[in-house]
Amino acid sequence: MLEVKIVENRWDHIKSMMTNFGISLLSIVVALIFGIFFILLTDQSPVTAYQALYHGAFGSFSNILNTLWRSTPLILTGLAFALPFRAGLINIGAEGQLLMGGFAAGVAGYVFTSLPGFIHLPLAILIGMLAGALWGGLPGLLKAKFGSNEVITTIMLNHIAIALTINYGINKLRTSSRMATPEIEPSAALLRFKEIPKHPIWGKLPFADIFTNPGIRLHMNFVLAIIAAIILWYILFKTTLGYEMRAVGFNSDGAEYGGIKPGKSMFITMFLGGAVAGLAGAGEALGTHLSFMSGMDAGYGFTGIAVALIGQTHPIGVIFGGLLFGALNQGGLEMQFAGVPSEIVNIIQALVIFFVASLQILKMYLRKRKEKEGVE
């Protein structure tokens, strides 16, 4: 009987996951339907526009890879929001954490000139992650020690990060008119997929040639992002650390009674969240731009909030949230080529966020009603 119960419960679990997934999917469909109205305002055909959107995101192998490329920083900033959220914290600071990580990695990428790749690259990435982690950990520490509201402190640290890295850092370090730090050494660069066919090791793969297209921009940070999501999932649901984080997130009084230090959990989630945001920045610097560049943050920190919410702040869900926004970004480009103004593309993205958020409320309502019916 026990076995049956467990199986039933697993099934319930799967069912509830499917419901969540279905609700996210539904909200996307509804958003696209409402988007038709806005496309019509621009005298374009919605059919052409959505065809372009689809083609741009998934129309060819390289388009798909570029969708993955665009989703990489979004997955990571999504995780940077999702993890602290599980411990009851709102991390608005992924933007600043990403900038600090990108800047630190970018600098580490060019100041060490004689390191072998297998040391230089991991070192640069770790430095980037550490910079992000410290930038996230600081508001976590302030929250734990003094109860400072993390929303305010992370927003303030965003401004400081912009001033520190872009306004001061780049101007101090740049060697050309390009608003960027000097280009990184090849030894610090993340492997780009388009280089695979000519790569001494990876080029030996039998299918290496499929990456022969200079338009492919995907690099290894995507793989790191997926690994990061899996690690965070593991931490959150399989370790005592994650157990404590979730306990604090649900009920910090109860957690405290259970001998858990809420402040410590809060600090650790913010530290880890900052680290993944830092990895997003490091990836952009070491994989996409090959230097720390002004404007490379592109609002990823804030889009990450939407990504996390679409993914139900579940680390694996965040991967899908990131892919969705990556696809919208990548396909949106093609939509622009088809004559739809970029503002409309932005509107459609905003609609997706809007409907995901409102359908979350629907879900809560459904659950409330179910509880009302089921429990005396």
Binding site: K238, T240, N251, G254, A255, Y257, G259, G374
Partner: protein
């Protein structure tokens, strides 16, 4: 069918289905005009469901309702209110920042034009409160007044809306003993004025003390309706549970051993930084239960929080087995084999959104076999949880169910299961049976006694004097943060304790703390 004239309410063959459960199964429930009628039953027996059907909050699947002899069909609370049925919910439906008056007239405001006529509203509230002896400051904001006062505001609200039949859903669960006495006075005065009262409870003493008739529900069915004067508390308990229940705690003489827990001149402040515990000294020996009696708010909460490492100790010493634990945090204290049943199970005792597995290891999650090197061992946790569910008879959906979906009694059993299964040498039990049904109370009391007999020391705090008296071997009385006396439980009674608790006859003696 013949209708007797004097029935204000008749509910016949009410059935209400929820997915998988018959919450009400052919329930019959009749109330005479002008009586106080107690509706009793264990948690989950269907009391609240029946009242929600009556109040129009649930649609019934079958059955008929007659009000004043006429068949009625209630579509929602407004229909019930229009008929003259008022409900005082367990969790008050009040708006915190508004005043008592504003809350009472809310939704039905006397106006001059479009503006609320404050004077008229106040007069009306005053009129009602004087008529029924419901004294409450009409201008006070809800958030500033006590729970008892808030309840009065709720009662006035239902009367203001013209209620003739008042339903109270566990009205005493949130009240102190004094407030309960006052509430019963209000009941009497309402009855004198011709109102009819239905109150839901599972406290048998209250049923005996105030009701005229009793209807008992068990497993969704109406078992019996009896005249209160014809039955004893034991009879009612048996009807509720379906078997004989021991209301009296059965225990043998204590056999105290060595000193296990010692508190020396402990001082603790409350959230507003005002001294709440002012120099408490206590000793508990192995194999004895030391009860602490006191009116709530005399420092008990702060005392327990300090002893369990949740609240900062200003000065004084706490020792377990002669080991100084004054500076220990909550986790370190647990590791000294000190278990704790907290007074507020929803706020402290459980993570309501965690399932049973995750709750049953709270505080012990970093110990083997539940985890190793920081990795949770969910297989071991599942086995352990199942063992506890069976052993402590925790009902409500199995180990994957969330704690919030359990009834209060089962939530409390879950906490008891968790804390007792670690085989503690010292146990701090704070309100261990608050809001718990008779069957669970019996079970929890037995467990506490069993711990004692196995040689554990127990510190018991309860607002329920009879619980303190029946469980404890010695009783310390706390008043305004000080222990005013320590008595042998067999040589004292409620009367003496009541006097000590209110500080009425005792000069606080000893040091002159405070101003």
């Amino acid at each position: 069918m013949s209708r007797e004239e004097n029935y204000i309410l008749e509910m016949n063959n009410i059935t209400k289905l929820f997915p998988g459960v018959k919450a009400n199964d052919n329930v019959n429930f009749s109330v005479k005009k002008g009586e106080i009628h107690a509706l009793v039953g264990e948690n989950g027996a269907g009391k609240t469901t029946l009242m929600k059907v009556l109040y129009g909050l649930y649609d019934k699947d079958n059955g008929e309702i007659f009000y004043n002899g006429e068949k009625v069909n209630l579509k929602g609370p407004q229909d019930a209110i229009d008929l003259g049925i008022g409900m005082v919910h367990q969790h008050f439906m009040l708006v915190d920042p508004l005043t008592v008056t504003e809350n009472i007239v809310l939704g039905n405001e006397p106006r001059s034009g479009i503006i609320l006529n404050q004077k008229k509203a106040k007069d009306k509230v005053k009129e009602i409160s004087e008529k029924y002896g419901l004294y409450v400051d009409p201008e006070a904001e809800i958030r500033d007044i006590s729970v008892g006062m808030q309840q009065r505001a709720e009662i006035i609200k239902t009367l203001y809306r013209g209620a003739e039949l008042l339903i109270f859903d566990e009205p005493t669960a949130v009240l102190t003993p004094q407030e309960i006495d006052e509430l019963f006075e209000i009941f009497k005065s309402l009855k004198e004025q011709g109102k009819t009262i239905v109150f839901i409870t599972h406290k048998l003493q209250e049923v005996k003390a105030i009701s005229d008739r009793i209807t008992v529900l068990r497993n969704g069915k109406s078992v019996d309706t009896v005249d209160t004067e014809d039955v004893t508390e034991e009879d009612v308990a048996e009807l509720m549970v379906g078997r004989q229940v021991l209301l009296e705690v059965e225990k043998t003489e204590a056999n105290p051993g060595k000193k296990i827990f010692e508190v020396n001149n402990l001082k603790v402040s409350d959230n507003r930084d005002i001294p709440a515990v002012r120099g408490v000294s206590l000793t508990v020996r192995k194999g004895e239960i030391l009860g602490i009696a006191g009116v709530e708010g005399n420092g008990q909460t702060e005392l327990v929080e300090a002893l369990t490492g949740i609240r900062k100790i200003e000065s004084g010493k706490v020792k377990v087995r002669d080991k100084d634990i004054t500076k220990f945090d909550a986790r370190e204290i647990k590791r000294e084999s000190v278990a704790h049943i907290p007074e507020d199970r929803q706020k402290r005792g459980l993570i309501m959104d965690f399932n049973l597995q995750e709750n049953v290891i709270l505080g012990y999650h970093d110990l083997e076999p539940f985890s190793r090197n920081g990795i949770m061992k969910y297989n071991n946790i599942a086995d352990y949880t199942q063992k506890l569910i069976d052993e402590f008879d925790i009902r409500g959906g199995g180990m994957e169910a969330k704690a919030k979906n359990l009834s209060g009694g089962n939530q409390q059993k879950l906490i008891v299961a968790r804390e007792f299964s670690q085989d503690p040498e010292f146990l701090i039990a704070s309100q261990p049976t608050r809001g718990v049904d008779v069957g669970s109370i019996e079970f929890i009391h037995k467990q506490i006694i069993e711990r004692r007999d196995n040689g554990a020391g127990v510190l018991l705090l309860s607002a329920d004097l009879s619980e303190v008296l029946s469980l404890s071997d010695r009783i310390a009385v706390i008043f305004e943060g000080e222990i005013v006396d320590v008595l042998d439980a067999s040589e004292t009674d409620e009367r003496e304790l009541g006097k000590l608790m209110t500080g009425s006859t005792i000069d606080a003696g000893g040091e002159d703390s405070g101003k």
